[in-house]
């Protein structure tokens, strides 16, 4: 598919894209560490948000700072920073999430030379009035922090426009998710992955334009629905492994939905444009599907997952977790049991960034599909 080319180009080398973008626009690039980084603020400041989802080489320098029992995401990101592979960054935003990113922020601040460092210490609890007020206060502070560091005033209008762009991106992604749900196979898993990956890196206006083109085309193309394919829902954290989709499809499955941090969790939830923009943006971050490092109730994640899996008519759920990821690992037994109670079988795949291709995943995938 031709319209997919821009996304594949970015996936092949996101850093090269950021460098080109910078050279072309003269703009600034801001690294972000998780889907709670307030991207709308970055866009409102005219900068490019660049999500760091792990490394692009073997770990050597990071080993002097992080033990081998930290997840590949934090080790990989630090390795890139210390090896000067992120020299195009003007700064980095660290939202508060898990214990590992929390310490990564300190280590980064003390050792990496990637421009400014902004800790956005979000609340961990999101479901109380005081937590929401705190969230808003933190967002206001992040706004003025970014204004200082990027030397650019961010007006309410800038914020509204940025929120509007994200709303459109999210609405268009929602359309794509809906098509995939209705017609599994209408878009290949690796295409979905390329789009989700590019969403974290690409100039958001260009992304919206290219995404719209893809979705229009997919909507208009008559693809034979893969009626025989097993409907699979993906649940978990960061998925930086395009191979995963190939394995699932080769084993006779089709992904019909996800709650991945690098998937629907970053791309869902609308911002109310009628409100004060900071209030509205804060509200979206408090109300969107919750990450396991945050709290909205002791049963909300299970209920949400069941709801999403059912909505997607999923026959099975595959959990994709990075090894050493505490927040996800703690939720696993509960989520598995909750789904089991609804008659939805699950498969757990614990991944280290480079190990998806070792055949094990494929074998287990095949066994799982057969069982469904």
């Amino acid at each position: 598919m031709d319209v997919m080319q821009p996304f594949y180009d970015i996936c092949a080398d996101p850093k090269a894209y950021a460098r080109r973008w910078k050279a072309r626009t003269g703009g600034k690039v801001v690294g972000t560490l998780c889907s709670y980084a307030p991207e709308e603020l970055i866009l409102a400041a005219g900068a490019l948000g660049f999500r760091l989802v792990g490394g692009s080489g073997a770990i050597s320098k990071a080993d002097a700072h992080l033990q081998a029992y930290s997840c590949s995401l934090v080790r990989g990101a630090l390795e890139d920073a210390l090896s000067h592979r992120l020299d195009f960054l003007d700064g980095t935003i660290f939202p508060h999430t898990c214990d590992s990113i929390q310490r990564l922020s300190d280590i980064w601040r003390m050792n990496a030379h990637t421009g400014f460092h902004l800790d956005v210490v979000l609340p961990v609890k999101l479901n109380t009035a005081s937590a929401r007020d705190y969230m808003t206060a933190v967002m206001r502070k992040a706004r003025s922090g970014l204004e200082n560091m990027l030397e650019k005033a961010i007006s309410d209008d800038d914020l509204r426009q940025a929120a509007d762009t994200y709303n459109r991106i999210r609405a268009t992604m929602k359309r794509l998710y809906a098509i995939r749900r209705e017609r599994p196979g209408a878009i290949a898993g690796r295409d979905m992955h390329a789009i989700a990956r590019a969403a974290m890196v690409m100039d958001r206006h260009d992304f919206l334009a290219d995404l719209t083109r893809v979705v229009d085309q997919v909507a208009d193309t008559e693809t034979a629905a893969r009626g025989d394919a097993k409907r699979i829902f993906l649940s978990g954290g960061v998925c930086n492994l395009p191979d995963v989709y190939g394995f699932i499809e080769a084993a006779g499955g089709a992904v019909v939905g996800d709650d991945l941090c690098t998937g629907s969790r970053q791309l869902m939830g609308a911002i109310d444009l009628k409100d004060d923009p900071i209030d509205a943006i804060s509200r979206r971050y408090s109300e969107r599907a919750v990450c396991p490092a945050k709290h909205t109730g002791v049963r909300t994640r299970g209920e949400e997952l069941v709801r999403m899996a059912k909505e997607a008519n999923a026959q099975g759920v595959i959990f994709l977790y990075l090894k050493f990821c505490d927040p996800h690992a703690f939720d696993y037994p509960y989520l598995k049991d909750t789904l089991a109670a609804e008659g939805i079988p699950t498969l757990l795949m614990e991944l280290e960034e480079q190990t998806a291709s070792d055949g094990q995943f494929q074998t287990r995938c095949e066994a799982f599909m057969e069982m469904l």
Partner: protein, 412 residues
């Protein structure tokens, strides 16, 4: 020679800390009280080790610490079995082993005291880690009891005004939570009094720890690991004050009489991170065999480290800051500064770090702290890879070789 004929080692007897027995009695009574709460009509709250216990004491709720229980499980070498059980339940073995042991304990009433008394409520303060949030969510589902989360924003470089406001508001919410759970109001004067006792207890604990500035040190970090239990579990009660007053007196006497924790102390070291509970005795003897005393540690001092932010005359008002700015809730560079401060205060010649796979917020950043200690004080660091409760990741021969090599280097 039979056992009876074995001569009493007077030197060793003299060296034993006499207060130990009393401490054991207090803890036994505490656990009996907690386990019989159902009969006495008292409520039980499970609370995290860094959590604000004073309101519980003021409300006559019995606080129970799963982490203290975790330490007991580790020390009684029951950690491996329970962690394996947790893995059988689907939990990854890479998670915090206090959490794993506790979660596995619940359905079987396992562990050295036949399980903890069931909670009526859970109080989770994330000033030590994000792990406790997930762990308490698990237990809130299992026991189906209300959970209060005190969210203390992480202080990378500052304790911000908005964080102060947020935590302060939550403390009021906490009181409302307790009042609802107990069905009566919280007497603010009583809370103020408990706060005063809590701070007095913390000051005494600090004074006890400070006796090791003396050369030789009258106690070691291994003793501190043991005597710590009270400041964690019974903070805010008179019992703590009475006990630490006695312990302090005993330490002062030891100093006056020149009784040291380690015979012929030649080397002074600082310990970082949680103890390796199932090997404390072995480690203590190992270091002692090199005439080295672990004179202080970053762990036991965490329960008095934020006294400077507390205000006796406005306890509730100052709790927000006091509970937010504790050792594990601050930036790695600030932790390094505190380590340097301890090195100077206790005249340590080296740093022993337990790189604890079980505790990421404590362990990630240790390499940088070691580097800073090397750069600023020229002191070497020994890093021991282990885990506080689960002996499976502990390799005795490897650790022994590394300790020996480290000590040879220090002596050279």
């Amino acid at each position: 020679m039979s056992n009876q004929d074995k001569p009493i080692d007077f030197e060793k007897e003299r060296r034993k800390i006499k207060s130990v027995k009393k401490m054991k009695d207090i803890m036994t009574h505490y656990y009996i009280d907690a386990k019989t709460a159902g009969e006495t009509g008292k409520k039980v709250a499970w609370i995290t080790s860094g959590g604000p216990v004073e309101p519980l004491i003021a409300m006559d709720v019995i606080p129970v610490y799963p982490e203290n229980h975790g330490a007991m499980i580790g020390a009684s070498k029951m950690g491996v079995d329970l962690c394996e059980k947790a893995e059988g339940m689907g939990y990854s073995g890479d998670l915090c082993t206090y959490a794993l042991a506790d979660i596995a304990c619940s359905p079987v009433d396992g562990g050295p005291i036949g399980g903890l008394p069931k909670p009526d409520m859970l109080v989770c303060c994330n000033n030590i880690c994000g792990t406790v949030l997930k762990w308490y969510e698990v237990q809130a589902r299992y026991y189906d009891v209300p959970l209060f989360i005190l969210d203390t924003p992480f202080c990378h470089t500052e304790f911000s005004a908005e964080a102060q406001q947020y935590v302060r508001r939550q403390l009021d919410e906490y009181l409302v939570f307790l009042e609802t759970a107990c069905g009566r109001t919280c007497d603010r004067d009583r809370l103020q009094e408990v706060g005063r006792l809590s701070m007095a207890g913390q000051r005494l604990w600090q004074a006890v720890l400070d006796t090791t500035v003396n050369k030789p040190a009258p106690m070691s970090a291994f003793d501190a690991f043991f005597h710590l239990a009270l400041i964690v579990t019974l903070r805010g009660t008179q019992t703590v004050i009475d006990y630490y007053t006695e312990l302090l007196a005993e330490m002062q006497t030891r100093v006056a009489e020149g009784i040291s924790a380690v015979p012929d102390e030649q080397h002074r070291l600082l310990w970082d991170n949680l103890p390796i509970w199932y090997r404390t005795k072995w480690l203590s003897e190992k270091f002692a065999s090199h005439k080295a005393c672990l004179v202080a540690d970053t762990y036991t001092s965490a329960w008095c480290g934020s006294l400077q932010y507390m205000n006796e005359d406005d306890f509730l008002g100052s709790m927000a800051e006091g509970y937010s700015r504790i050792y594990l809730n601050i930036g790695t560079d600030q932790m390094a500064a505190m380590v340097l401060g301890m090195i100077d205060k206790y005249a340590a010649e080296g740093l022993v770090m337990h790189s604890n796979r079980s505790c990421k917020p404590y362990s990630l950043g240790q390499y940088d702290i070691a580097r800073i200690v090397q750069e600023q004080r020229g002191l070497p660091t020994l890093i021991i890879e282990a885990n506080m409760t689960d002996a499976r990741s502990f390799s005795e021969s490897q650790v022994e070789t590394r300790i020996d090599a480290f000590m040879e280097m220090l002596k050279a």
